[in-house]
Symmetry: C2
Subunit: 206 residues, 2 copies
């Protein structure tokens, strides 16, 4: 065994070469998997590199820094979530009563969550552990959703309800029950949730 053979033996074999676009997607998938498994406070360039089986310069070749990577992940995930949300909501039921809407929306949203749990878990755990740039972005998104929900409530319920507070309540409940469904879908079934929602909302209608 010569010295060059000894030296060559020690060098880690190269990971398969991958076009940049595909590599970026792979890195984003890895980041999402880490966030889902370990939480936002465990995400790092080093962790992502290890998850994929490449070295850090490869990650830096695709993204300038962690912030940029997380921004790209957010872009991608947001697009996925919005697509799923619009597919799930009964937007064709324009003239229906709130109770009918709820009876159709709850099972659809329930199925949506379970069809892509990783996406929704990452979104619904966007609490204080997220990097600051991510948190600001998510807060902005939540503000927009809040305004939309507030408009819907204003047109559906009597005027003696505070629409802004109700919108906050609806968002908080959707997020909380989303987390419960993802954690225990057999216990928090679509049927059970729909029944309760119908009963409570029904009591608020004229």
């Amino acid at each position: 065994m010569t010295a060059s053979e000894t030296t060559a033996r020690k060098r880690r074999p190269y990971a398969a070469r991958v076009p940049m676009a595909q590599r970026r997607e792979q890195l984003l998938d890895a980041a999402l998997a880490i966030i889902d498994r370990d939480g936002y406070d465990r995400i790092s360039i080093d962790a992502i590199a290890k998850e994929v089986g490449v070295t850090r310069p490869v990650v830096y070749g695709a993204f300038d820094d962690l912030g940029q990577l997380l921004g790209a992940l957010l872009d991608r995930q947001q697009e996925r979530a919005i697509t799923q949300l619009y597919a799930a909501l009964p937007l064709d039921a324009v003239g229906s009563s709130p109770v009918e809407l709820v009876e159709r929306a709850v099972p659809a949203l329930h199925a949506m969550l379970l069809a892509d749990p990783m996406t929704w878990r990452a979104i619904l755990q966007s609490g204080s552990g997220v990097p600051e740039a991510v948190g600001r972005r998510v807060d902005g998104d939540r503000t927009r959703v809040l305004a939309t929900v507030e408009l819907m409530i204003s047109s559906a319920l009597p005027q003696d309800y505070d629409a802004e507070l109700l919108a906050h309540a609806v968002i908080a409940l959707l997020e909380h029950f989303g987390r419960l469904v993802l954690a225990d879908p057999e216990h928090f079934t679509a049927e059970r949730l729909a029944t309760s929602a119908r009963t409570m909302i029904g009591a608020w209608l004229p």
Copy 2:
């Protein structure tokens, strides 16, 4: 200037000596301040030492490691929160209707939050960023509170409401509106919240 003078010049002046019990309390206060300002993911022995103006061995002289310190902080904060909560809730109103209870509880809870915001902010931001041991403890506490709320609901509302789901909803709403009040107390006033709560709960009563 002799060599010993030069050496003495370079040594950092000692922080004031403090009895152990007082030091522990001071370190816990510092930890709470860091969590409030920077979040759970920024808490570390080093950060606490810097916050107080001592070196790390001083912190390690008081607590074995970060986990033990955070456990002690949790014990202390939990005791504070429970004391404040029991002082705020109208426990003397045993025979009152749910609407009356709410009308008295909301302003009291509102004032409680603002009387000690740091304590409540640390509790209400106990999301995914917390160290695992803390998260498990908080989850256990939440489960107990949930069971208590579920019992109260079972006795106050008609049987066609799902008490478990409602308990989850109440907890989610209390936490969410707690965060809103801490963030913007002038916008989310006690009066406004009480009015909305009265209207909604009133609609559920026989």
